[in-house]
């Protein structure tokens, strides 16, 4: 089996700016993959190279084994891209837009699937409305539908939820998750870290055109400085534990531990100091911490 997305040693310059610098990335078929990174990191550039909107200076990219340059017809048929910008053709209605897009992909009679797409994205009652008259959120839904007219096995969404209201975000995620369950590979870039945390099985972090972290979401979360402990003690915090303290919250102490085993050690030290724990809660690290740490230092 070919990987859904295979990127090997890809570099891309814009003038003096190195937008991508030797990127290697493999996404297996069926994954829900997140691509994170600050603005200007090169996420959209990588997507453009995959879709053929831009051309790599060096390196190879392929979609399910089809090279994006030499076999562009195949690779584009296998790929559905929701662009970052809210673009639309003001001359056409929603249905016309979707029919034209089907035609571009060589599909003449696609109305059954178009109707289904519109149904799932709550667009049915806008089918004959001109694109110009749709709200931003509605246009975004049409963009998603356009990317899916040819039922691509690999779906790329470039910050699809930026500036989108909560309700639409819910609708979109339910729909995309369903597609993923049905076997579509999903590559998502987003600014909302909770979103990536909730949806993606694996995550790559991009910074200045380089991949600075690439792992399963769980491993990335685990790698984030163990955990935080908030507790109330029967006395003062012993001196040995002082280096772990982040802050005092009322009567509680907030401590940072490097790993879960460190929790054992801490409890032992408390016992030795003759203290008892009156209340305790553990706080999970979130992706934001990982992100700040990885992207901050690299």
């Amino acid at each position: 089996m070919f990987p859904a997305v295979d990127v090997r040693q890809v570099s891309k310059r814009y003038g003096s700016l190195q937008a991508l610098d030797g990127v290697d990335l493999r996404i297996e078929a069926g994954e829900f993959f997140g691509l994170l990174g600050p603005n200007g990191a090169g996420k959209t550039t990588l997507i453009n190279l995959l879709s053929g909107l831009a051309r790599a200076d060096s390196g190879q990219l392929s979609i399910l084994g089809r090279d994006v340059a030499a076999q562009y017809r195949d690779s584009r048929r296998l790929l559905g891209v929701v662009p970052q910008e809210l673009v639309f053709d003001p001359f056409f209605t929603v249905r016309e837009t979707l029919r034209l897009q089907s035609g571009y992909f060589g599909l003449r009679h696609n109305d059954a699937w178009i109707d289904e797409l519109m149904h799932h994205l709550d667009l049915t009652d806008k089918a004959d409305t001109n694109m110009r008259r749709l709200s931003g959120g509605m246009k975004r839904r049409v963009l998603v539908a356009q990317a899916l007219v040819h039922k691509p096995p690999v779906i790329v969404l470039d910050e699809p939820t930026a500036g989108v209201d909560v309700e639409l975000r819910q609708i979109m995620w339910r729909f995309i998750q369903r597609l993923n369950r049905e076997g579509h590979t999903v590559l998502l870039t987003t600014h909302y870290l909770e979103e990536a945390e909730a949806l993606c099985g694996r995550i790559a972090m991009l910074k200045r055109g380089r991949i600075v972290a690439l792992d399963s979401t769980q491993n990335l979360l685990n790698s984030a400085a163990g955990c935080r402990v908030r507790m109330r003690l029967s006395g003062e915090l012993p001196a040995v534990l002082a280096p772990h303290m982040i802050e005092r919250v009322g009567e509680d102490y907030l401590l940072a531990l490097s790993s879960y085993p460190a929790l054992e050690t801490m409890l032992m030290q408390l016992r030795e100091a003759g203290l008892t724990v009156l209340e305790m809660s553990l706080q999970q690290p979130d992706l934001e911490e990982v992100f700040l740490r990885v992207v901050g230092k690299a």
């Binding site: 453009n48 879709s51 910008e85 035609g103 992909f105 060589g106």
Partner: protein, 252 residues
């Protein structure tokens, strides 16, 4: 036929139809205004071909001018609009080859050129009825000429980044070449220098060949004009295809 090519062509035609007031009606009215003014001013004074009224002489030139200008306008403005609004990505993301892209835009330009040309011709019949000795010659020149201008429009639409750049292309290249091509006169009425210069203007051969289709008379042999226009189209098409293939200003 390839569905993606047919769809792109159909989309271009649909666009023309949706804004038919601007794309079809308004150029026809413009041409009729030219006809009214020039024929009113010159009818009594000029006889280009013996036995042919000036207004009748003028009609084929005006028809061809409309054909050419509208073919150019169609591909160039459609492309620049799609580039500026960003919706060209829908085409660029699709498995459409560069020659399908070329063929769709050029063919749509030919269709718009021919429809406007036919409209101008029909409206002009009200004022004068020029002969139509060789309709197939006229049609051949109209098709080749609009294909050439449609192809130039593709290049201009890709090259231009703003509407005013496109306007300068139109004002400084297309307009002078059309006006200096013998739409309103026969080049034999020009001083020798301008006559010689006109022979380097491909538009001259398009108009002259097109007019031959009407009157069976022309400044140059229609076969020679046909060869020149066909060679220009082939060169332009080759250049446009190479540009599209390179991804110039389309795929960054």
């Amino acid at each position: 036929m390839k569905t993606s090519f047919v769809t792109l062509f159909y989309k271009e035609v649909l666009r023309v139809q949706k804004v038919a007031f601007q794309t079809l009606l308004s150029p026809i009215l413009t041409a009729v205004l030219y006809l009214l003014i020039f024929s009113h001013v010159l009818e009594q004074h000029v006889e280009v071909y013996p036995g042919v009224r000036y207004t009748a002489f003028l009609i084929p030139g005006l028809v061809m001018m409309s054909v050419l200008q509208n073919a150019f306008a169609n591909s160039s403005s459609s492309l620049i609009q799609s580039k500026i609004t960003g919706n060209l990505v829908f085409v660029l993301l699709a498995p459409i080859s560069y020659w399908e892209f070329f063929a769709a835009y050029v063919l749509a330009a030919v269709v718009r050129g021919l429809v406007v040309g036919a409209g101008v011709y029909l409206a002009a019949l009200y004022f004068a009825q020029p002969a139509m000795d060789h309709p197939l010659w006229a049609l051949l020149f109209a098709i080749l000429g609009s294909a050439l201008l449609g192809s130039m429009g593709v290049v201009a639409g890709i090259w231009a980044e703003k509407f005013d750049q496109l306007a300068s292309f139109q004002n400084f290249i297309i307009m002078p070449l059309t006006f200096l091509s013998g739409v309103f006169y026969s080049i034999h009425s020009l001083p020798a220098f301008w006559q010689d210069l006109s022979r380097f203007n491909p538009f001259f051969y398009m108009i002259d060949g097109f007019r031959y289709g009407f009157f069976g008379v022309s400044d140059i042999s229609p076969w020679f004009s046909l060869a020149v226009v066909a060679a220009c189209f082939a060169a332009m098409a080759g250049f446009t295809l190479a540009l599209l293939r390179s991804g110039y200003k389309l795929r960054f």
